[in-house]
Amino acid sequence: MANENLSVWTSIPFWRRSAAWVTGFASILLIWLTFDTLGQISMGTDEDLKAGTIKRVPAPTVINYNIDYQMSKKRGHEVPIIGAKEPFFGKEWSVEEAAELLHLGKLTSQSKNCMNCHTLLGNGAYFAPDLTKAWLDPMWSDKGPMMPMTGKSTREEAMAEFLINPSQYPTHARMMPNLGITADEAKGLVAFLKHMSSIDTNGFPRNFSKTAEQFKLGVSHAH
């Protein structure tokens, strides 16, 4: 068959080599982008927070600050705003304490299997509300129903109390089960949620701030 003019397009070695090159190229590009992304999503430091340097994922000590989520004209979507200092469970947490608390919270979020009912950053199961900005949810604000219901006067204490005895404070027929969360674990979880709400998620969930604003003005969503 040597005299026949064989097209490269029907040659198995040609496609094998092409497949190898394309796969290799795509993998190298992915690895390169991964290095860049890892740099951008690694946690900031306490110094960044003090200096007001914006990090996509701030240091654990962000729990010592007020966090908001507002429309940014420049970026065309909502972004987290880290504001003035505010006490968290009645105190300011040192770098070590905050890191330890966040560690406990993240561990608890995994061992209690939060992700198989809720979504975290939009990933997980779809049986319970998204937790990405749960810390900022109007339900927990001083005008919301959860503080009076749990008999607590701050957002974090109300959340912790709810997490310890969730089925005692039902809001809907579908309830959160009691998962045996201890008082310490609950504090850790609230720190984990507050930290997650400070992550720059490129505007996800959208329109969250608008609804939160309407809630403050007393507009109801009765349907």
């Binding site: 064989l6 397009w9 029907t10 420049k74 970026r75 065309g76 979507h77 505007g203």
Partner: protein, 115 residues
């Protein structure tokens, strides 16, 4: 931070058209590729080929419509339309490939593992 792509709001009554149109893009795309390939291979009569091109035109329109509905940038819309022109050639290339492969390997009868 420099200005990045802005994400305009999608109106509530736009979601259904968006989902329908994005499905149609793929459905017309498969229809076009299948009709051209099958009629060239002789499974369908050649009469069906114009219908294939109509599918291509519908697919192009749907993709354009989708890019408008999700408020893509003008540049992106142009890139998409160029991609659609490229897609006009794909089934023809695909058919050539099938034909040439059949021709090249017509004398081999390997189904076992021995090549």
């Amino acid at each position: 931070m420099e200005i990045l792509i802005t994400r305009p709001e999608i109106a509530i009554d736009m979601f259904l058209p968006i989902f329908v149109v994005s499905t149609l893009v793929l459905v017309f795309g498969v229809g076009y590729a299948a009709l051209i390939t099958l009629s060239k291979m002789g499974y369908f009569s050649k009469k069906w080929m114009p219908l294939g091109y109509i599918f291509w035109a519908l697919q192009t329109y749907c993709l354009y419509d989708l890019s408008v509905m999700i408020q893509s940038e003008p540049f992106t819309s142009k890139v998409l339309m160029i991609a659609m022109v490229a897609y006009l050639f794909v089934p023809h290339l695909y058919f050539r490939l099938i034909e040439d492969t059949d021709e090249r390997y017509k004398d081999t009868h390997t189904t076992s593992n021995k090549i």
